[in-house]
Symmetry: D2
Subunit: 140 residues, 4 copies
């Protein structure tokens, strides 16, 4: 039976949505904070030619959700869970051609609920968006 832990900690192309958007998840860092990384291309543009807010929310949801999984699973990245609620604050725009990284951080939680914060930054260090989310563990 294959381990659920990816060997190098990188998850790519796992779901239809992930393949469509093209982001990668890094669940292998020792701080147990998951990252979602995207090279922003023309396919990700909004009406003003910057990274679409919906994709910003998707990256933050992914980074926070896998961070919640690592929290529930004590390092195991594939614990089944659902997003209950999520707030995204859009701080500045991310340009086409940049690489953006969302990172999660557990703020609190118990056995079945985790509260996670997230931040999306570009490769110049600018904060693009911040987020908070509530995640609930479910039976697999």
């Amino acid at each position: 039976m294959p381990s659920l832990r990816p060997e190098n900690g990188i998850i790519a192309g796992q779901t239809g949505a992930q393949r469509l958007i093209g982001y990668k998840i890094d669940v292998g860092q020792p701080d147990r904070r998951a990252r979602a990384v995207l090279e922003v291309g023309p396919d990700h543009a909004n009406r003003i030619g910057a990274l679409h807010g919906g994709i910003i929310a998707m990256l933050l949801d992914a980074a926070m959700g896998f961070t919640a999984s690592l929290y529930f699973g004590e390092g195991e990245p594939e614990v089944p869970l659902v997003t209950v609620s999520m707030t995204t604050n859009f701080v500045s725009i991310a340009k086409i051609g940049s690489t953006v990284t969302a990172t999660g951080l557990v703020a609190g939680g118990g056995r079945s609920i985790a509260q996670v914060t997230g931040e999306l930054v570009d490769d110049g260090g600018a904060v693009i968006a911040t987020a908070t989310g509530v995640f609930r563990r479910i039976k697999g």
Copy 2:
């Protein structure tokens, strides 16, 4: 110069992200509430085989944002604006094969800020998600 108002009120393939995901925007309803409609396919799936939360957020952002535009523009759908903040509550899952519709509703606002609520329902009438957003008008 072409009018910014689409003839039949339907906006499709306007941005890279919209083409990638494949949703349509309806800004032609007399209630001035914009809709975002998506036929959910395998490309939109999350880890549990349902519509990805990030795409749910994207549809609600689009429906609320165009509703804010119709509000600022008194029926004009292409007023430039940015999402300042958005909260999404995930109520139930949307299945692959269903069609989902997000609809916005203006809760309040002034000349430069609009507060909009949104609801995403599937073709069986089930509420998939609710949302609230703050939108800010910008110079075009």
Copy 3:
């Protein structure tokens, strides 16, 4: 043993905070939507002489929380629960001297989690604020 259901459906002065602020809770309506009602006085003022945003959040939290309780308890208003997350959108100001009413509405939920929306209106019918909240049932 006394019933937990207040005879006329009105809960007043139940907690230190409720006595301090002076709002009343109505859990006796047949629609199972709880209300929190406050006559706004000078003690409730913010820096610009209107109802303080923190008290607005408190009224919405109370109305949504008791609505969640009625949902979990199928009409029983005193089911123990905690607020997990709450978003408030401030739409317009409420004047000193007005009476404001917050009302909750269940958007979705299961056995342990409820997602509730709320609206605060003044006695002239103006929407003061909208809110969404996530509530979790706990052991009493």
Copy 4:
């Protein structure tokens, strides 16, 4: 004309609501992050005998709002503004008898809008709640 900057940076009893609840604001720190401090007493209790969620939201709103003021005013704490939207995540309970401190941090913003995060901790260092807020500058 008196300066709007309090001599020792402490604002107490400024509004009806602040007098009623009894918290203090510190706007005098060199990091330009405002603090709201409350000694939690029985008047601040909720149904389970801990600090009421509405008062938690009030403290975070105050700390984030004055932080936004210091941001807009470049150190001036009394710039007129309103809260547009605010999300609070309730992480753990604060006990009666503890002292809690909310602190704001600017995440981004422009001339008229500020996006601020906040954190409420107790005197043992436990995180009680996190928050994000959108604040809009208004004419005085």
